[in-house]
Each structure stands twice: as C-alpha cells, then as structure tokens.
Symmetry: C2
Subunit: 570 residues, 2 copies
C-alpha cells in the first residue's frame, strides 16, 4: 500500500528540528521556518538585515523528516516503546485478547487488506495502572510529560518569552485532571501531546468511512494529510466495511493520538441491530481497540434511560450517533445503559492501557433551537459524576461538548462544564453558531470554536465544509483543519498563550517588508497563499515585487507608509 496523490514530505523553507530533554533522553520534534533578510536601501546602498527563523508546532511526524523513510506497510518508528518498557509495569501478551480480533486475524480473505506487521499487544501487569494520571498523582514526571512541556514552549526560552509551562506544571495539571496526555501504551508511534486549558488549544479531525464510501488507502491518506496540515488528534469514525483492519493501518501510521467511538464497531458486530447490543460485545470491542492502540474512546455513558423522553421535546431530537444508539437500547430494553452501569469496569480496562475516556455528549444539540436545553445539561451533570469515577481509577478524562449553540449561549456551556465536570478538559464540536449555512459549516463552527476556546475549551473538533451533507474528502480535511487552526490560534492569542504571537508578528513583518515568500512560508497554508498571489501576477510572476497585489504597483499603502516612516525618522 502507498499514499498517493498527496505530498506530505516537507514544508517550504522549513527544517525538522529536535530539542533534547533534560530529564529524559527524548527528542522533541518541531518545525523551524527560515526567513529571508529584510532589504533596505541606505545611502544608496543595499543593506540586508537578517530575520530570525520561526519555530512552529509540528504535528506531521516523521513524514516531514528527510532522515526517516516512512514505509506505511511497516508503520512509523515506535518512539515511545522504550519509555513504556522502562517503566517495567507492563507485559507483552502472546496473542490478542479480543475474540473478534482473533477471528478477523485468521480470515485468509482479509490477508490482502490486513496490515502486514503484527506487534504483540502490551498490557499493564496484574494490579498495575499505567496511566499518565496515575504517574502524575505519584509525583512522577514521565518522558511524555517532559516531551509536551518542551513541545508547548517551542523556542520561547531562546526568545526570552516567559512561560508557565514546565514538566512539573504538566504533571500537576494531569494529576488534577485539568489536562491529559492521551497515549496508549500500544500506540508508541504517536508523539506525546497535551490537552488542557493551560496549554495551546488543540484540534481534532474526524475521518472514517461509511457504507457509502471509501477504502483503506483513502482513509490512511486522510489521516496523514490531517497531521500534515495540523490536526493534533484524529478520530477514526468508520462505520463501513473492515473497521478493524482500517484502524490498524491508521494507528500504525499515525503520529498523533487516535480516538474512536467503540459503540460503532460493536453495533456492526450485531449487524446494526441495536437491540442485540450487549455489554459483553462492547467489552470485547474495547479490549480489541485497546490492544490495537486507540488512545481515547468516546463513550456515551451519560445517556440514561430517563433522558429518552426528553428527546421528544426537541426540534432535532438526538443527533449524536452514539447517543441515539444508547437511547434506543435503553428504550428497547427498558433498562439503564450498560455503559453507565458498567462504567467502573470500563475504567478498569482503560487504565491497563492508558486509554483516555472522552465522555460523549449524546444529547448535544443538533440545532440552535435545542442549545442549552434540559436534555443537554442533565447529561452534562451525569458526565461530571462519571468524571470523578474515572479519576478514582486514574483514567484520564475529556468531556465532549456541543454542537449547535448561538454565540450568546456559548459561555454558559463552558462555565457549566467547568463547574460540574471539575475542570476536566472540554472538547467541543464547533459549536456551530447558526444552522443556515450547510456547505460552510467549517466557518459557522470556527466562529463558535474560537469563542469557546478563548473561554477555556482545550480541544476543538473540526467541522468540514461537507458537514451535514457528506463525508469529507482530502480537500475537505485540509479546509477543515485550516479553519480550526485559525480558531485555535485566535484563541491562543486571546488567552495570551506564551509565544503565540511570534508567528503573527513574523508574518506581518514579512508582509510589510514585501517579503512575499516569507509571508507564504509562515502561513498556515503556504501553497494556497502562494497560488492566489501568483494567479494575480500572471503577467509578472516574480514573487518579490515591492507592492501589494491588491492595490497594484501605482497605489500601495504599505509602500507609501514606509516612505512616511523614512521621512519622519524611525
């Protein structure tokens, strides 16, 4: 298998940079963008003033490191494997535990689509918990914690920018449940990253096939593509064919944490018949995915039997797939959700692999009309109760949030979540600030995502232009990621996150200097920026003209402005 049609091998004028740890022998990957000098004419002579390179957060993994040749048939280097081993609290299993997984593995007709390498699954030794929260509560700073502390700071130290982020701070935030490092011991290919309101805002992308679409190669390409453009985590929401095999390919080749919604696959195992779902099938699915290396599970354990009646009060009912499945199950069986009643058992599975739980908002509003209603907020209270329970098991927790929310109701979401869920990181889908723009919901939701991130949401789940209409293709993934990079970065600026403004300042200086190439290279999408620029310069394709392409050569505000500055003296 090959990744075709996309180039994820490099960014323009950039080099991969590795910063070494001080506590642990780790190398933290970053991207450094070099710049051209500023050119001035002084006393008739051309003088060059150098511009410092700019270091940016890099989610692309080994794909952009020319020293590493990635073969997706072998998967990425397993950078965390030795860290996990050295903790000496895990063991390798001889075989996979899940019955379903073993059946799939032994089906010869799947040979052609099965990931060709087999790694033995790892699990905590009897009686051990192996979560980052567990270590943090014990006062331990793991390599993962140091990694994210360095990663968040970029080159703040070299620039003399003060930062609150230290390995100790990371540990304390994780111990308190205010941040998580989602890092399954069976996904050692992923580079550690942190999700919490004291850190840079992160963004998740959703990919995955459905019965209407698409093949494994396409999904792997989307995953790598998502990382290339800046996705911090990735959810595989496949509901179509070969979910197990697709996921294996994705995880082995994904440098960021991977999440899933296990109920989707559980439902596939009973051929879509909700009534036939059982705890046992679900449990087997959890273990199957824990051993594959899924880093976090969305679990809709807050949807209770008693909430079902509230669905009828809404304009758009229950729009969460997991939420609607569990509600239907509760109604069909007229009993409490097995996700709720077995929640302790779930946590005891998760803490053996360090899989985080992302408590799903099964009652998220699917329309402006339903925002902040009873169904939504009652469920949120249950999520708060489950958060405390998960923490007792040292399981790391995210709380999922809406959905469709008008701007004036966003703040109440954040405040209520922080209050009832004890500041567990909030992870929201948008929210979309209006319902009336299908085909542009990356924009309706980027508005909401920026606002809620500024208020304290730790991770935002992207929405692509195809939301409500279709599954995203490669271009939609890119559009969605960039829209959400914008929202996340706008929030980082508004929060005064240490060093966030470095890139803005550098890009703006490049713009004012007419260093067009630097302007492109420092931007979130250098290729598109350059393309738009050159397109307007068809007749004079030199990308270093000393005027702005909006005004034209005769009429440039920035050039006039520079002549004023020269005149008035700097």
């Amino acid at each position: 298998m090959k990744i075709e049609n996309i180039d994820v091998s490099s960014y323009p004028n950039s080099r991969k940079k590795y910063v070494s740890g001080k506590l642990h022998p780790i190398k933290v990957a970053m991207r450094e963008i070099s710049q051209y000098p500023t050119v001035k004419i002084e006393n008739g002579k051309r003088v060059e003033y150098p511009n410092d390179p700019v270091t940016v957060y890099d989610t692309s993994g080994p794909y952009t490191d020319p020293a590493i040749t990635v073969d997706i048939n072998r998967g990425l280097p397993r950078i965390r494997e030795s860290w996990v081993e050295e903790r000496n609290d895990t063991e390798l299993l001889d075989d996979i535990t899940s019955e379903y997984g073993r059946v799939r593995r032994n089906m010869p007709e799947l040979d052609a689509i099965r990931f060709p390498m087999m790694h033995r699954p790892r699990v905590a030794k009897e009686g051990k918990r192996v979560t980052q929260m567990h270590y943090a509560k014990k006062g331990i700073i793991t390599p993962e914690m140091e990694y994210v502390a360095i990663r968040e700071n970029l080159d703040n130290e070299a620039r003399g920018i003060k930062s609150h982020i230290t390995p100790e701070f990371v540990r304390d935030e994780i111990a308190a449940g205010r941040a998580i490092i989602s890092a399954n011991i069976n996904h050692p290919e992923a580079e550690p990253m942190i999700i919490g309101k004291a850190f840079a805002v992160k963004l998740n992308t959703n990919i995955g096939n459905s019965a209407l679409s698409s093949g494994i190669e396409e999904e792997v390409a989307k995953a790598v593509w998502s990382c290339y453009w800046g996705g911090d985590t990735l959810m595989d929401l496949s509901t179509g064919d070969n979910i197990h095999e697709t996921r294996e390919w994705i995880i082995r080749n994904c440098p960021v944490p991977v999440g899933t919604v296990p109920i989707y696959q559980a439902l596939e195992k009973v051929n879509g018949d909700v009534k036939k779902l059982t705890w046992e099938i679900y449990r087997d699915t959890l273990i199957e995915q824990c051993e594959q290396g899924v880093d976090y599970f969305t679990i809709h354990a807050g949807v209770l039997r008693e909430h079902a009646a509230l669905v009828a009060e809404r304009l758009t009912g229950c729009v969460s797939r997991g939420g609607s499945i569990m509600t239907q199950w509760c109604v069909e069986h007229d009993c409490e959700s097995f996700l709720y009643t077995h929640f302790d058992e779930i946590c005891e599975i998760l803490n053996k692999y360090d899989v985080a739980v992302s408590l799903g908002d099964g009652m998220r509003p699917g329309s402006i009309h339903d925002a902040n209603d009873r169904a939504q907020f009652l469920e949120l209270e249950v999520l708060g109760e489950l958060t405390e329970k998960a923490w007792q098991h040292d399981v790391q927790v995210l709380i999922e949030g809406p959905g469709h929310v008008p701007m004036h109701k966003i703040k109440a979401n954040m405040e209520k979540q922080a209050d009832v869920c004890h500041e567990a990181p909030f992870y929201t889908l948008g929210p979309l600030t209006t319902d009336i723009a299908p085909a542009y919901d990356h924009i309706t939701s980027a508005i909401g995502a920026a606002i809620i991130s500024d208020l304290g949401t730790a991770m935002i789940c992207y929405v692509t232009p195809k939301e409500h209409l279709s599954l995203p293709d490669l271009n939609d993934v890119r559009e969605g990621v960039i829209a959400y990079k914008i929202a996340a970065h706008a929030a980082d600026l508004a929060k005064g996150f240490p060093g966030a403004q470095v890139r803005d300042d550098a890009l703006s200086k490049a713009r004012y200097d007419f260093r067009w190439k630097d302007q492109f290279n420092l931007s979130l999408d250098p290729e598109k920026a350059k393309h738009y620029y050159l397109d307007s310069r068809r007749n004079a394709p030199d990308a270093d003209d000393r005027f702005c392409t909006m005004c034209g050569p005769n009429f440039c505000a920035m050039r006039i402005s520079q002549s004023i500055t020269d005149k008035c003296g700097e």
Copy 2:
C-alpha cells in the same frame, strides 16, 4: 453590455414578494421560500403536514423578479425617484457640475464604454438639506424609513413575533445618529436599507479594479453577484482605468447603496502624485460622485499631521490606502489634512445629495501587533469630533473600524467607538483575529466580525479569501459574502434580533425531517449545499433519502432518534 457567466435570475423554490406600506405607497421586496410538507406514516397511512414558507431578507433587487426584465444598458427601475420628487426640496440640473465629469462625457474615445443613458443630476434646492437625518430630526417619517421598518421585520407580524422596529423607531434612531439610511437622491435605483445596531447586522462588499485587473463588465457582474448572494451595500474601490465610467455602470445597475473612497479617484486625477492633491480637485471629485449617485463616501478626515510620527512606532505602519495617502500629503506639505480643515464644507456638499460620510480609519491596525495602539485610538477620538460636526450639518455618519484585532481586544474597540463617537453606527473590516492565515482571511475575519457585531457593530465589511494576496474574482465575492452572512446572522441570533431564528428553525426541522431539498433551499448557498450532497450520492442520486449522507443508510442518528420519539410518545 451583458452580464455573462452568472445566473442571478432566481433562487430555488422562492418567489419575490412585495409588502405594501401603510403610510406611503411603497412596495417592499422580500423573498419567500416555500417548503415541502413533512411526511409521516401514521397507522400505515402516509400523512402530509404542511410547512409554512419562510420569508428572508432579499438584497438581489429586480434581477430576481420575473416580472421585471433588467437591461443593464438601461439600468434598474428608479423606484425612489417619485419619493424624492414629491418632497419638493430638490431640483434637476441641466448639466453635471464636475468639470472632470464634463470632460469625460465629451471624450468620443469613451463612447464605447460609457453608460448609454444620461440622467440629469438632482441636487437640493438652495438652502435645503435633503438627508434622512434632516427629515428625521423634523419628525418626518419618509417612505425610505417606512420601507426599512417593513423590510427588517420580514413576516414577524404574521408569525406573532414581537419587534421593536416601527417606522417611528426608525425615524428616532436616525435622528439620534444611531442608524443611517444611505440613499443618495441620485441613486433612486437602490432599495432603502438601514444600518444601525438596533437592526439586522449588514455586510458590505468591496469590488473594483486596480492597475493589475479588470474590465467594466467584470466589475458590474461582481456587483450584481454580490447583491445576489446577500451583500447589503457595495463599495467600488476601483483604482485602475476608467473609474468614472465603471462607477456609472455599477450605480445604475445596483439595487443596494454604493460607497466609494473619493481620494482614490482624486489621486488618479493627479497621476498618483500625492503631493499634487488639492482640496479643489478633491471637491470636484466629491461633487462628480454625488451627482452620479454614490450613497456614502469613505473620508479619512481623522488622519492628522500630528499622527504621522506614530506610524513609525508600528510593526505594519499605515495599511489604509486613504490613510497613507493623507498622511503622506500632510508630511509632504507639512500642514494639516485638507479633509480635516475643509470638513464643514464637505458636509455642506453631502447634505445636498444625502450622501452619508463613512469616517475612514486611516490608522487601522494592519497586524495583531498594532491593534488598539495609540495611532488607532487617537484617530478614533478625532472621528468622534467629526461625527458631531457632521450631525450639525444633518449628514449621516458611519465610523469605520479595524482591521487586525485579537479576540481579547475586540470589545475595547466597540466600547471606545460607541463612547467617543456617540453611538454612530460602527462599520468594521472584519476584524481579522490572527495574521497567520492568508488565503483564509474570510475565516479569520468572520470570527472577529461575528464577535464585534454581537457587541454592537452595525455593518461588517467582508474580507475574501484573496485578502492580502489579490483582488477578488466572482467566486471570491461569493465566498466572502457567505462568510459574512454567517457572521452577521450569528450576531443577529446572539442579539435576539426579532425573527432571526425562524430560518434556523425551519432549516433544522427540514434536516430532521430528511426534507433535503428544503434544507438546501433554506440555506445561504443552496447550490453548493445541493452539490455537496449529490456528489456523495453518485450512485443513488435521489435527494430525498431518509438518512443522513454522513452516516449512511445503516446508521443514522436522526432516524434512530425519530424511532425513539415514536416509541416514547411525543
């Protein structure tokens, strides 16, 4: 001349509707979108429940009225001509006043590109002021005021939705300067609209050629296209060839108010040599454009000689074209700006045609770094002083705002503007909430625009994906308008604007009912929504499937949700 390549003749499942005035014999244009019935199966029988049509604000003018055949060589029907005549305070001139205009008219080489009809210009009779503010202060409710009162309310009355908007309220807001109806007596083709924080948020689009681009036909097409998608006003920012003729074509065919920045043309008249600009040339340009029918002028009269030194303190200097021109002029001549020293005279010209002044923010920040700095806020204080002066002349006022502003500094902009400019309507460009996303600045700025509109900004100036890189083409205009319709509508929802949620609720109900066609038709861009949907349904192109195209047929949250509702009883 013809408008080619674009179809602006109709919206799907929509009809043009005219609502009659009660005080004046006016017909207010709106768009009514019809819906399909909701289909349910009850006791094995198919039952249809009708869905009310939805009335939406319509900026497209006569182009979408099948009863009117628009010939752009003749211009649009002059609906306000009789209203103006009946006030009996204006007179027709035998010839145009501007010397430059007369010279252009008499150049045979321009015959081929000149708009073929000549309307005699109208001006206030000696000693009269003919502005909407003048009438409002006298307690008069003009047809324009009643028009906008009806227009803002859509079908609120029929729906029993309470609204604060009455003709009297409109009059009082205009008298107080908190709102404007920008309606030059020489642009009777335009349908009246109101800009003010108590009304629906409006959006402006910028078009216009530069030395690098484009012809008259293309600019007229962009203007009509902008109105079709929802632009409320339009600025012609041409700086290239044939500015005068291009503008005539645009105004005669534009159903929304048209704004310009007269200093651009004045500068063209002196071949781009800023030093040669004079008050006399500028004055002649104002009158030329007043008589053509420009509805509002951006005038950078707040840029003072003393501000020039502040430009050097900035990262990106002065990025406003008008601001940089005037700053340079002040520095070159070492004297105060003629726009400032002649401001009373300017107002006395404007109130003879009812041209509104949009006080330009020549010192708007061009980067996150420069937001809310001294240069910006000192100028804003001057704009406050000029606002009071303009109001003394009964000239209607807008205040232009930034620019690039991080989210946490947006509120200060709105508050300071409202304070020092006495609640004159604020009209902002975005603001862009980060600098790092050229090619996506419609999104960076839609975030800022939504936030500042919610806080009270009355009109937002769109930014297209090409901002900073090139001039927008037709597709960019569409993308920019939709992004800003989203921002404006999100703010209307957040402000609780009467009736704003009707469209959201209708679209969401259609979505939940699987009435796909209604979902598209009610959306801001029916064509694109439908296209994305059908693209995913290549193999089964029926747009009324009872499942969502994201989940696929086996796995639909909304269908499950409906079955739950059926089970639990509604």
